[in-house]
């Protein structure tokens, strides 16, 4: 401790020296002061904690990573849609069902847009949702265990991209389709897309108590691409907004063929109206196959249920529920300001941002000022709904977030910058380069009624020379900016795992106090758990051998097992008896065709081993659990299939 203090003191000394140097050299003054203040702003001293959590989607890693802001330190990778050998997620018998789909076991996905649950439009820190883009799924992750608790598949959807955004009171998590497809799926020529393919927008209800998800209804829309979405809030609560592209309904070379219309649409959905309609029995139940996977924290097990039906809604059956707002140049991001008044469509092929006014939209709808229709859905007049245009001077606007002080921040992919502008006056206040080609940006709470406008994180698509080179393939890069002043200040660069698309941030004080330290052994309801070492045993059921095993520093009970035969299916059910924070035990068996297990205190996990060779085979603890971790090991004797050796097990020769 003393040494540590001394080091800190000398560090302080160094900082003072540095700053005083800067002050002495008149010319370097501003630069020196700027650099040192940037360093201080992101420096979180050893043992200190960050001010914010940042949850970064993993993109093609399929997972979600947890970072601290402003330090940019990574705390955890939460396995969601991808098998994760580190913990055994998707490999253990308990978690294999989490990755079940109607297509069978899918070990991977592409995770894009995390969103934290809200109450009254403010972050409440109960759960975080994220979408699987490739095989359409939505996951719910607990923010007390930081583990995935539930995954629901979305039928009739393909490229689950305009997802997973929550409404103001987490009534719904919404999932829109990027690809339009034949609904229901059928064998038909691809070039008959136009007029035949359709796009489903799914509203998934969230149980306010347990968070359990259920598809309440799907709105079957014209065959456009539904790119991104955000909920209305405040005055526009009850509406949801989706950007569209490919209103041309091209089925090939979309790069060119989907970029022909000068304007595509933002689809405005009055979901309260649709909800009312389905609550009164409206809509059509259609056959579907989709899987619902739920992980139970007390049994430590997931179960999969195949669902057979989904309620679909034809928007034409509910007059006044769906409208199109013309928006220039294949809009990508669709963002709603904290007041709920402005809906911003970022035309990705444009230099300008289009801002629609909710009040104008309502007035236009009430005045029935329509400019034609698309597949029966009324199109509002662009000029009637427009609030303003931000003449940015940048190119390729993608996404916008807000600081809660009347400012908006938009990323520009092509010109590689973040632009700060003022809501209402549409004037550009500041612009700062990003490194390089920024996609999403994130301000903690920046897409809620109450943003925490202190830091902005730019999530870049191109890394190139920002870090030491590591060959052609590398992690993505993020930059953090201080946005507390009039001008943005670039503070820090840090690499991010996978390919983060969107991210969600939240003040640490909302999550840290309720983060779980252990699972209680006396609440463990796993059917194969042993809550005391004297229950440890081995049972045979035909070819299946079930080993009920417990662990505590630093041994397995039992650790000598005989009577296993070649051709058996051996299940290790391991309960960690520790009730101390951060004392996991691991388990790995030689030659096992699956991953290790990492078992948290109080938890039970099961691993399958199919021994193929006669011999005496060791297993061991893979987590450096204690001073005698290297002694934490055991043996299984495997005899020939026709052997008549009885099952036996022991610990310490007992």
């Amino acid at each position: 401790m003393k040494k540590y203090r001394f080091q800190l003191l000398s560090l302080f000394g160094a900082v003072i020296l540095l700053t005083s140097c800067g002050n002495n050299n008149g010319n370097n003054k501003s630069r020196g002061a700027l650099n040192s203040s940037a360093a201080e702003k992101v420096y979180v001293a050893p043992g200190e904690h960050d001010e914010f959590y940042a949850f970064m989607s993993g993109g093609y890693s399929g997972n979600l990573t947890v970072y601290g802001l402003p330090s940019g330190r990574m705390f955890k990778e939460i396995p969601v849609f991808s098998q994760f050998p580190t913990s055994g997620y998707g490999y253990s018998e308990e978690t294999k069902p989490m990755l079940e789909t109607s297509h069978g076991f899918v070990p991977w996905d592409d995770s894009h847009h995390p969103d934290i649950s809200q109450t009254n439009g403010e972050l409440d820190g109960r759960w975080i949702f994220i979408n699987g883009n490739n095989t359409p799924r939505i996951a719910r992750i607990s923010l007390t265990t930081f583990e995935t608790e539930e995954i629901i598949e979305i039928p009739n959807s393909a490229g689950n991209h305009s997802s997973s955004f929550v409404t103001e009171n987490s009534e719904y998590v919404v999932a829109g389709t990027r690809f339009s497809v034949p609904i229901p799926q059928r064998d038909m020529p691809i070039n008959e897309y136009k007029g035949n393919f359709q796009g489903a927008l799914s509203f998934i209800s969230v149980d306010p108590k347990h968070g359990h998800m259920d598809i309440k209804f799907q709105i079957i829309m014209p065959g456009f691409n539904y790119d991104l979405s955000h909920p209305g809030r405040g005055k526009s609560h009850g509406w949801f907004f989706f950007t569209t592209y490919n209103t041309e309904e091209a089925n090939s070379l979309q790069e060119v063929n989907s970029s022909q219309n000068d304007k595509d649409f933002i689809a405005a959905i009055n979901w309260k109206k649709v909800e009312e309609y389905v609550n009164q029995g409206g809509g059509t139940k259609v056959p579907a196959n989709y899987v619902h996977n739920v992980y139970d924290e007390t049994t430590h097990m997931a179960t999969s249920t195949m669902k057979k039906e989904v309620l679909t809604v034809n928007p034409l059956d509910i007059p006044g529920a769906v409208f199109f707002l013309p928006t220039p140049k294949s809009p990508h991001g669709c963002d709603v300001d904290p007041s709920g008044q402005y809906i911003i469509g970022n035309g990705k092929l444009s230099a300008d941002l289009t801002v629609h006014s909710f009040d104008n939209m309502i007035a236009a709808i009430e005045g029935k000022k329509f400019d034609g229709e698309a597949y029966g859905i009324p199109i509002l007049k662009f000029e009637d709904v427009l609030a303003g245009t931000v003449k940015s001077g940048g190119l390729g606007p993608l996404h916008t977030e807000f600081d809660g002080k009347g400012n908006a921040y938009t990323t520009f992919f092509i010109s590689s910058e973040v632009v700060k502008w003022k809501l209402g006056t549409w004037e550009v206040i500041d612009r700062k380069p990003t490194y390089y080609s920024v996609g999403h940006l994130m301000i903690p709470g920046g897409n809620s009624r109450k943003p925490f406008g202190k830091y902005l994180v730019a999530l870049n698509k191109i890394t190139k020379d920002r870090y030491l080179p590591v060959g052609p393939e590398m992690e993505h890069s993020a930059q953090i900016y201080d946005i507390s002043g009039e001008k943005m200040e670039l503070l820090y660069d840090f690499p991010t795992h996978g390919e983060p698309h969107y991210a969600a941030g939240i003040p640490a004080e909302l999550l840290a106090p309720k983060s779980k330290k252990i699972y209680r052994l006396d609440e463990n309801k796993h059917p194969y758990a042993v809550t005391s070492p004297d229950q440890a045993r081995v049972e045979r059921k035909g070819k299946e051998v079930h080993i009920y095993m417990s662990t505590i520093r630093s041994h397995f009970t039992p650790d000598n097992i005989e009577g296993v035969k070649v051709g058996d299916k051996v299940y290790f059910h391991i309960t960690n008896h520790e009730q101390d924070f951060d004392v996991p035990h691991g388990f790995a068996m030689i030659g096992q065709n699956t991953s290790e297990l990492l078992i948290m205190p109080g938890q039970t996990k099961s691993s399958l081993w199919e021994p193929k060779k006669v011999g005496v085979w060791p297993f061991y603890c893979t987590d450096f659990c204690s001073a005698l971790h290297q002694e934490m090991q055991g043996y299984v004797r495997v005899s020939p299939a026709n052997s008549d050796i009885e099952l036996s097990w022991s610990l310490g020769g007992d």
């Binding site: 520790e578 009730q579 101390d580």
Partner: protein, 204 residues
Amino acid sequence: MKKSALLMIIGSLLLLGLFKFPLWNIMLGAPQYPEPLGMDIYIDGIQGMNEFDIQNIDGLNHYIGMKIIPKPEDMWEFSVFPIVIGSMVVLGFIIGLLGLFGKVSYHWFLGWLIVMTVLGTLGMYDFNAWMIDYGTHLDPNAIMKLQNLDGTPMSYKPPLLGHQKLLNFDAYSYPRLGGYLMGLGMLLTLIAYFVGKRSKKTNQ
């Protein structure tokens, strides 16, 4: 006399705190235990400061071959101490009450205090003897058998009072609220004696 008798009554009643609050506390901190493990010693048993502390202390102690921390039924002290304290409270209360009505003199207050001090000293002696036993009678098959520089087996006896370094752990042993209330109560009975003595003098 009235004032001193009231002090006697209050002083003896303060011992009741021992039925609710811990008498003593031993805390164990180490680099990997930034939140120290701790045990609260009550007159009727030992409890962890956090729910699983006793289990975790036992888990660590098994490396050096210490016995597990005793449950109330494992030590006669935990059934006798409540009776002794309860009796002393009743006794002190009755003496105080009798003093209030002038049936007994302030000398009885001192007598009670002397008995209490003797019992308390015996209790501390017993507590220390248990800690010596606990810290030195180790499992001969212990995982870690450590020796002092002179070759004698290392003792893991926590200090009776104050701080001591035990391997990677810093052990702290101090009274807790119940113990402080008892001390305060005994102090009040001492004051009761002196107040009684002085009022007697002035009355003469």
